[in-house]
């Protein structure tokens, strides 16, 4: 039997206490080869092509660290070669070609081949395979390989196909490895071709990545990257303020302003491809154009951004942010409460006899979302609109939106990291999209022909015209483009990404 002496017990106890109280890293501590990121969301699944996580924009930075996309994307949303180096259609758009990057290896050392690309697209295209955007990938078929060039027949022309290759679920997975280990085996030991390899993972706690020494894009700046999953904003603030993490993002703007001037820390804020808007669902009082227009003209977006968001945000008049392909700065919706009052009066409404409806909003999902809606309701009240605020959960919003049962007005956000108008105005306003709120034939008639438009200039101009029409009809109330705050140690250099994906390999280096 092993006997523990009093001295041994005391020594063990003392050691334990000393370990608990061992000095921690402080904000001024030098960053070694490990970069700690206090990340705002958890990573539920490693499969970037299937399941709910695959279409979650907030975890794309992690996916982009482990996997490569068919086509890459620069921080300004422009596209660059990824695992496909050259791509395009033939003249009549009946075929596509993709040149596959050579001399690339998977994390297990096996070579990456055109077969991996074809298998990935076919897997994503299966309607019952669990890919939420399978219809995009199902647009091409009958693949052929000639050297490193893949060609395929276009079953249904989609002008945005190649943009999607740099977007949600546009990742290449290893065919042989995946087929060998299966879906659950892949979840436990994922491999990609990306700049980092999975080293250790504990769900809801952290993901530790090791640099891929054979990465085709060059070895990243840090040997190890740790994503700490810290969904609570207060805890993220504490992580960066205490020096426990080197970088964090999506902290409250008040805390950002306080910490960015603190010695040893720096901060950057960038408008990203995420906008806040109020969906308008047709029916009832919303069928009155005067009411809709009054709703839009009564909202002082500049003041909301200045007062509630400390100036961090960009007011918008359409669903296109300035970085998007179909942004048209000439489309404006003025803040004009007098006009709003006049429009309402024309429909028989006034401050004494207000038009009444419900507006739904999230609370705490986006920065100051509830407070913004409170402010807007106050502005509306001044012109003769009496809106009742109802708070809903994210899941309820999606279900109501899909079943076209949202309240007459409903606040939510909308991301579009490839900046194409189909992914903003298109899917938000086309009545056949399960996520649109306003359904009307006049708008569908304008949007419909644009889906398959082969002339790119004409296509983009078409979407600008649609945006102008929507603004004139007030079919939706675009509010603002969100800005992403990032705090980091002064020894680092952080390049913000308009898509919002803060992938460490290409965007975080030593200063």
């Amino acid at each position: 039997m092993y006997n523990v002496s009093r001295r041994q017990a005391l020594a063990a106890g003392g050691g334990l206490v000393a370990s608990i109280l061992a000095p921690r890293r402080f904000a001024s501590a030098a960053i070694g080869n490990t970069l700690n990121i206090a990340y705002n969301v958890n990573l539920p699944s490693f499969d970037p092509d299937v399941g709910p996580s695959s279409v979650n924009p907030t975890i794309q930075a992690i996916y982009r660290s482990i996997f490569d996309q068919y086509i890459g994307q620069k921080p300004n949303l422009s596209f660059e070669p990824g695992l496909i180096t050259n791509w395009g259609w033939n003249d009549d758009k009946s075929k596509v070609f993709m040149d596959v990057r050579q001399s690339v290896v998977w994390h297990d050392g096996t070579p990456f081949t055109p077969d991996d690309v074809i298998w990935s697209i076919q897997r994503e295209a299966k309607p019952d395979g669990g890919n939420p955007v399978s219809f995009i990938w199902a647009g091409i078929d009958n693949f052929k390989v000639d050297g490193n060039r893949i060609t395929a027949d276009v079953k249904q022309y989609d002008p945005v196909l190649f943009k999607w290759m740099a977007f949600l679920t546009g990742y290449v997975l290893p065919k042989a490895y995946y087929q060998k280990v299966g879906p659950q085996g892949f979840e436990k030991a994922p491999i990609g071709t990306g700049p980092y390899m999975v080293d250790a993972y504990e769900g809801n706690a952290y993901l530790r990545l090791k640099a891929n020494p054979k990465y085709w894009g060059g070895k990243p700046a840090f040997e190890t990257v740790v994503f700490k999953f810290v969904p609570d904003a207060t805890s993220r603030v504490a992580e960066i303020e205490s020096g426990s993490s080197d970088v964090t993002l999506e902290v409250p703007y008040e805390e950002f302003d306080r910490l960015k001037i603190k010695p040893g820390l720096k901060g950057v804020v960038t408008p990203i491809s995420d906008i806040g808007q109020i969906f308008i669902t047709n029916g009832g009082v919303m069928d009155d154009k005067n009411v809709r227009l009054a709703m839009c003209h009564a909202v002082d977006k500049d003041t909301i951004i200045k007062r509630l968001l400390r100036g961090y945000g960009v007011p918008i008049a359409t669903l296109e942010a300035p970085e998007y392909a179909a942004f048209d700065p000439t489309i404006k919706v003025s803040y004009d409460p007098a006009l709003a009052t006049k429009l309402l009066a024309a429909s028989g409404y006034s401050k004494d006899k207000p038009v009444k409806f419900t507006i739904q909003t999230t609370r705490g999902f986006k920065p100051k979302d509830y407070e913004m809606i409170q402010a807007i309701v106050g502005m509306w009240r001044n012109v003769g609109i009496d809106a009742n605020i109802e708070i809903y959960e994210i899941a309820k919003h999606f279900e109501l939106r899909m079943s076209h049962k949202l309240a007459p007005a409903a606040f939510y956000n909308w991301g579009n990291a490839i900046g194409d108008p189909t992914c903003s105005t298109g899917f938000a306003m086309w009545s056949k999209s399960p996520h649109s709120a306003w359904h009307s034939d006049d708008l569908d008639a304008k949007i419909g022909p644009l889906w398959g438009e082969k002339d790119e200039k004409k296509r983009i101009q078409g979407w600008k015209d649609v945006d102008r029409y929507i603004a004139e009809q007030a079919y939706i109330l675009p509010l603002l483009q969100y800005a992403q705050p990032i705090l980091y140690k002064a020894e680092l250099k952080v390049t913000p990404n308009v898509s919002g994906a803060l992938q460490p390999a290409s965007l975080i280096t030593r200063a």
């Binding site: 019952d128 810290v230 805890s235």
Partner: protein
């Protein structure tokens, strides 16, 4: 007789769990929030939506879905998580040890803090010391665990950075474990540096959970001790010349601990419930943190598994407490 009580409680527990299973299954499908609605692309057609529903087994009538699920549960298969894409049983088995270690550490802390406070308050009765203990205890009782969590972060992580804020272990040390009971395993295997790191990660969440429970223990135990201290046997011991500390610990405490134990058991279930928000704040990878993500994402199979697991834990705690109280008090063994 104790065996009969045990069998009786187990049968009741099974019935309760069956009821919980039915309620959670029906509720999830009645309240708004469709997991497919959350993941479909804006461009998805009706056929795409139908295909996704079929993929996750949500296209059949609710009774069929329930039958498939309950058959699986009986055979130990709780289904596959929609978001984590792993078997629910596997996920729960991986996360439960973290919560068990945290809850037990919090319980032990609460017992030490609460017991110590009650004994100190009894020893200092009718002095300023007792008033101070009562005052502090009232504050501890009034402030919920998540507020303590935030306060502890501000004090011990930001103002005096001496404890890590998030996680269960330093990622650099999280290697070489053969079980998920990291703390227990590291102590047993003599890896005290690792154990220290784990304890440092657990200190703040455990304290946040322990402080309100500790306050309940102080109040209950102090009251019981107060009543015990005027009993004849304590008076006799006092006449014999026993010191005050010995009177409290040796004479009064043994008789006063019964009611406190019973109520601590009930309060422990609340502590387990409190892990949900506390684990979230400290990014602690237990079943509480997991539950929040599961609910946000409407991950039906995972929510169902978690609710059943929480139900089972609550039942086991209550049965254990009943048995302990019965074992300590012979009168309760013969109903």
């Amino acid at each position: 007789m104790l065996f009969a009580v045990l069998v009786n409680r187990m049968v009741l527990a099974l019935l309760t769990l069956a009821g919980v299973a039915v309620i959670v299954f029906v509720l999830l499908r009645v309240v708004p929030g469709d997991p497919v609605a959350m993941m479909i692309s804006p461009g998805a057609s009706e056929a795409d939506i139908a295909a996704l529903k079929a993929h996750y087994g949500l296209d059949t009538p609710i009774l069929t879905q329930f039958w498939i699920w309950i058959k699986g549960v009986i055979s130990g298969d709780f289904g596959t998580s929609i978001t984590l894409r792993l078997h629910v049983t596997e996920i729960l088995a991986a996360r439960l040890p973290a919560t068990i270690e945290l809850a037990i550490l919090a319980l032990l802390s609460a017992i030490v803090l609460g017991g110590g406070g009650a004994i100190a308050g009894t020893l200092m009765r009718r002095t300023v010391g007792e008033a101070v203990i009562d005052g502090v205890n009232s504050i501890l009782l009034a402030v919920p665990d998540f507020i303590w969590a935030l306060a502890l972060v501000l004090v011990f992580a930001v103002a005096i950075p001496m404890l890590p804020i998030t996680g269960r272990i330093d990622p650099a040390l999280a290697e070489g474990f053969s079980t998920r009971f990291y703390l227990v395993e590291s102590i047993i295997t003599g890896r005290f540096t690792v154990a220290g790191d784990i304890l440092s990660h657990m200190t703040m969440p455990a304290l946040a959970l322990a402080l309100p429970l500790g306050a309940v223990i102080v109040r209950l135990l102090k009251q019981s001790l107060k009543e015990a201290m005027v009993q004849d046997y304590v008076l006799l011991a006092r006449i014999k010349g026993f010191r005050e500390l010995r009177l409290v610990l040796q004479e009064a405490l043994r008789n006063a601990v019964g009611p406190t134990l019973a109520l601590t058991g009930v309060q422990f279930t609340f502590l387990i419930g409190g892990t949900v928000i506390v684990e979230r704040i400290f990014a602690y990878p237990g079943i509480g943190n997991l539950a929040i993500d599961a609910v946000i994402n409407r991950d039906f199979p995972l929510i169902q598994g978690l609710v059943l697991l929480f139900g089972l834990i609550f039942i086991l705690i209550n049965v254990s407490v009943d048995l302990m109280v019965a074992a300590l008090n012979p009168r309760l063994r013969h109903p």
